[in-house]
């Protein structure tokens, strides 16, 4: 059965009474203890998103604190170099803190304040979600704890230092693969024990339904800006337009596409394909993983026959996650978006090429999206337009890049 996206309803609201998208993705597979806090949060957010003052407040902080709008630029040199479609970038890495994770973090802190909570906790992989939550928490006077896999703490040092500077307590997670999947689990377990005093922020469009909603609602700012910028640049939405975004949990892509949902723009999501000759990857949509339950939601997820969650591998900590947002599962099955993957090597090459030719230097996550743009552009006509969401800055990946390529340029 082909699923259908409805026209006059925001994507995040297209679920049934069990909070499932397309009848099979999402939901709330949670312990009883979390039912009430999640219910409370659902009600509060439902009210706030209809409240004019709250929207004003959000817009105020997006403008003055996050720094909206982020630039929309043509990558002239890359376009010339590849000789095909015109390539543009939405430089979301110019947002305060250096990535799209600031939108979700800011909104969560505003909500936590309204809920009267004094503490926030969050998970992080690449360290951006944690860095931004620690920043926003500091700004809004909340105490902050971040759960991060021990492997990621080692490989994303600059963001770890930023979190420390912002006064956040970093809890290293040493269970399992010691990456994002374990950080999210540990953060949820912490929330089970502390949900009476503490607000939880899930760092991407994953987890129980309300966290998917809040996150996608927050990152939607990216495409609100982009819609205006595209119309200013081209007068119309170009007839052949591709919006390319990397997907880990999927928050950046969901925000990048949202306003274009009912247009003819094509959406391409790029997952982490992992090392070139490895069986391991972090691309459940590309590789046909089965539906399973991870972190409270049904989704396509890397797992074995029994239902044990599988190991992943990616050079990019932010994409190194076995699951994917139920929203993207829905978009995939409704054929509204197409998903593919880029390998570690392709992402590194894309980082290098873009950094060399242009004034931007994407981190390893958006480099996966650039890798797809680099593959596609030469095959397309010059009347076609590709926009890549450059949602993170390479600075955090300096160590890895140096080690892999021998030198780091920015």
């Amino acid at each position: 059965m082909k699923l259908k996206i409805r026209k006059n309803l925001p994507l995040i609201d297209q679920h049934d009474k069990n909070f499932m998208y397309g009848g099979k993705f999402g939901g709330n597979f949670i312990p009883e203890t979390l039912k009430k806090p999640i219910d409370d949060l659902t009600k509060l957010f439902g009210k706030l998103r209809k409240n004019k003052n709250f929207l004003k407040e959000r817009d105020h902080y997006f403008e003055t604190y996050v720094g909206a709008p982020t630039p929309f630029i043509k990558l002239e040199n890359l376009t010339d170099h590849l000789g095909g479609a015109q390539i543009y970038a939405k430089v979301v890495s110019e947002a305060n803190g250096g990535a799209h994770k600031i939108y979700n973090a800011t909104v969560h802190c505003l909500i936590a304040k309204k809920a009267g909570k004094k503490y926030v906790v969050g998970d992080t992989g690449a360290g951006y979600a944690g860095k931004m939550l620690s920043m926003a928490a500091k700004k809004f006077g909340l105490k902050c704890k971040i759960f991060m896999g021990a492997k990621d703490i080692k490989r994303q040092r600059p963001n770890v230092e930023a979190m420390r500077k912002n006064g956040a307590e970093i809890i290293p997670v040493t269970t399992g693969s010691q990456t994002l999947v374990d950080a999210v689990s540990e953060c949820m377990r912490y929330w089970v024990s502390n949900c009476d005093t503490t607000h939880m922020c899930v760092g991407s469009t994953v987890g129980p339904n309300i966290f998917i909603k809040i996150c996608a609602w927050s990152t939607a700012q990216i495409s609100r800006e982009l819609m205006k910028q595209v119309k200013e640049e081209f007068g119309i939405i170009p007839e052949k337009l591709k919006l390319i975004n990397c997907v880990g949990g999927g928050s950046s892509a969901a925000g990048f596409w949202n306003e274009f949902m009912n247009t003819h723009a094509q959406f391409i999501g790029v997952e982490a394909g992992g090392p070139k000759n490895s069986k391991l990857h972090a691309a459940p949509l590309t590789n046909g993983s089965k539906i399973g339950i991870l972190h409270g939601a049904a989704q396509y997820v890397i797992q074995d026959k029994e239902g044990q969650i599988g190991s992943t591998d990616s050079i990019s900590a932010g994409l190194d996650y076995p699951g994917i947002s139920p929203l993207h599962c829905f978009l995939k099955d409704a054929k509204r978006a197409r998903y593919t993957s880029a390998s570690d090597e392709e992402a590194l090459y894309a980082y290098q090429l873009v950094s060399k030719l242009e004034n931007i230097s994407p981190s390893l996550e958006p480099s996966h999206a650039f890798a797809e743009a680099i593959k596609l552009a030469p095959k397309l006509k010059s009347s076609e337009v590709i926009i890549v969401n450059s949602c993170g800055d390479s600075l955090k990946d300096k160590d890895i890049i140096k080690q892999k390529l021998g030198s780091y340029i920015r």
Binding site: N18, G27, N28, F29, I30, P31, E32, T33, L34, K35, K36, P37, T175, G176, V181, S185, M188, R189, V192, S193, N194, C195, D196, K290, I291, G292, I293, L294, H295, G296, A298, Q303, K305, E306, G307, Q308, I309
Partner: protein, 266 residues
Amino acid sequence: MKSKIALAFNNCKKEKRPALITYTVAGDNTKNNSLKILNKISKHADILELGFPHNTPIADGGQIQGSSHRALKNGIKLKDVFQIVKKFKKNNPHKPIILMGYFNLIYQNGENNFLESCKSSGVDGLIIVDLPYPENKNFANKCKKKSINFIQLLSPTTSKDRIKKIIKNSHDMIYYISMLSTTGGRLKVSPKKILQNYNTIKRINPKKNLVIGFGITEKTISSLKSANGLVVGSMLCKIITNSLKMGQNPVTKLDKVVYNLKKKII
């Protein structure tokens, strides 16, 4: 016909004591040992909970995670879990056994398939940590049709209204989570407070068997003995961990510990 779970509670009520309910993980630390453990502790315990391990548990504390990790490292599969139950039931046909775990394993196995295996191996009840009410209605009904108890959970955060609905939808046993915690947290609420909450719930339907779990150890168990049943889990997992560390036999160790727990509530 009364379920074995209901009969176990009746028995305890006659003896004016709570049911002692243990939790261990299938395959911890080996398939053989976990079966031996069940055989031994069933002499003292009234109902046995057996965890089928998942590698991404969102509500388990460190002790149970440790046990699950050991079991999975030993390659435990669902079919082994059922085998353990089957072998146990051969010698102990009347002792109720409850499987506890996360929904994804059932989802991948297929609900009907899973319940079939429960039935043929002799499982009496199920606790599914991440399948709360009302999402569990469908599956709980399937269980009921197969005469398998679906055990609902209540927590200190559950609203009164919700408690009533859940009790209405419950079978022979309801599980009250003593505090806001993953499994194995230290008891951070006083037993008095826990019993207060417990009694409020109990008054809604005094006939239902309501048990308390999370954070119960040999130190706290006797202060909660007015409940219909008490679950001890993480403490047992911890003892397995410690005896392995010290090169002791976890089977004899656990036998002793559960015997002592029982003594504290009779």
